[in-house]
Amino acid sequence: MAAAITPQPVEYAAETPVTGKVRLEAAWGSTEGDEDFTTTASSAPKPDGQVFKPQYKQWNGQLNPRWMRNWAILRHHLLGIFKKGHRPWGMPIRLYLLVVFIASLTDVGLTLVSALIGDSGLHSIWGVSRDNLYGHVLGFFPRNMLYYPVIAALLVGGVISEDRQHGTSALYFSRPITRFDYVGMKFLSVALIQGLIILVSLSLYYFAEIAAMGRGWAWIIDTLPMFLATVFSAVLLIFTYTSIGLSLSSVSKGKFFPGIALLSIILGTKILAFIVSNLFDREILYLISPYDCLAHVGQAIIGTQPTYDQYSWTWSLASLVAMNALALYVLTTRVSSMEVTRE
């Protein structure tokens, strides 16, 4: 559809105000030698806000097998600690992890200092020994009071409960993710983050001693069994804290309850057993305290002086097994009841 337009003359006098129109017409000479003016009308006005038509693009790629899906869950949780785009761990949690990691390296630093200044007294207090290895993982204050249980509480808080709260469980279970893979990868993620702090700092401590004190093979062969026993104790500690924590997370829809409940269980039972032990001289209540059972088993396998002497360490081991079994039972039951269509 075209319609002729009569060109309008434009005058360029000194008093002509400088407007956009005049400037534009002057620049393009829009009225000179262009008499055959035509206008065109757009055929159909576009609806507001729609600047393009959506185009469905097909994808012909191959989906990877089960291990890749599991790796995606693990990667999502682990990388979330370090960078954006993965599971959004809160800034306070990330900061606390960093603080605890640095604080866990105290004995590493003091081992290096004692080697640097050649002070054997300082080294005897902080260097690698049976008691210090035990203390690095299972010492109560500050590590099992302020560091590791708090980390576990912060980590497990939202790992499963937030899937219930936000309904993100549907995103997992409407895909070829089994409940076992889901809970397994979540467990592994939380355990690995704790392991990054506890086991890495423990290894650094051991290797700092070797490097700074110039320890030879004989010393390494001598101390390796107790180092490995400490690693095993640390794994037991991480496993126990994670299983109890995740079972609490699986029965909740928020992150506060699982976190605070885990701390209450670990610290509350410890305090209760301590009070009973002091008032009545009965240590049996330590069997309901996850920390005390871990410490007792740890003392036995690392070979330090036992502080729980009214009963055998195998009772503590049995208690630990029972606690973990109960926690895993609750965890699996609750996860298997998670819905896809409605939560």
Binding site: P54, Y56, T168, A170, S174, P176, T341
Partner: protein, 336 residues
Amino acid sequence: MQDDLIIKTTNLTKSYGPHVALNKLNLSVPKGATGLLGPNGAGKSTFLKTILGLIQTTEGEGTVLGLNIRTQGDEIRSRIGYMPEYDCLNPDMEAIHQVRYSGELLGMNPTIALARAHETLQYVGLGEQRYRNIGSYSTGMKQATKLACALIHDPELIIADEPSNGLDISARNYMIETLTHTVKTGNRSVLMASHLMDDVERVCENFILLHKGKLAAQGRIEDLKAFDREIEIHVWGGASRLEEAMIARGMGVRREGRVMRILHEQEDTTSMILQCAADVGAQIRRMHEYEASLEDLFLSIMENLGYEVKTSEDLLSSPAQARKVDAPGYMGGGSA
């Protein structure tokens, strides 16, 4: 014909103790878009869980995309995209990463999943908003993100559970257009569960109506609508006389005040109506072919089954209350 079926069930039964959620369901869902209808408690969610391969059936067989729902649940879930009715997004994540992660959960390589997340978010209309946190999204944007999560691996079948739930008119239109586009130009199949009949009618060619775990009706929406064609007339003066005259001539008449709908059964129904009007001296101010909407048919079917059902308008104005579909008293509901 068999190859064109995306879902087929034979005597599919699912019981929870004494409660039978699905009762000997025999369904054949062809390619294209199909609406899954039914009041609350009809068994829609159980049916969706069953075809996702998430729950074991008590009895009967079923296939989705040719895969057995009893033994090939993982494969089925790899080849379909499920868009849940309820929130399934992490509000602290950016949409692009949420969609990418949903692709990774299917086994997509992270780099490919990211590229595909950009494409699908662009497709659902969130191209410019994809780096915003989902927590800051409107309901419509969240629904679009859920659709993007379902589409990321280009599934053969998309199961959309109440896709337009809680959306305003423009967001609802966009969602419906996107789904329609996915079916028509993307050549994908959609199984859409919805309480909003208008939406089902706009997207789907076929429908399934469930009632108390049983199949109440199934077929092409067009066929169903063509089943009871009526002529609607607006009468001025002598409406009662006209109604009587038409009934006397054996015509099927439904009347509401001055508006009457007459069953269009014969070629000469129109002239018979005019003849009756002339005989009784009634004025017909308006006459047109009345095509029942899917909602009318749904209401009619459900009323025949003894249910009191709300309309789309009610559903849109007060979703929480109106989505309650009351069973009559003798069926265990609150209303008569």
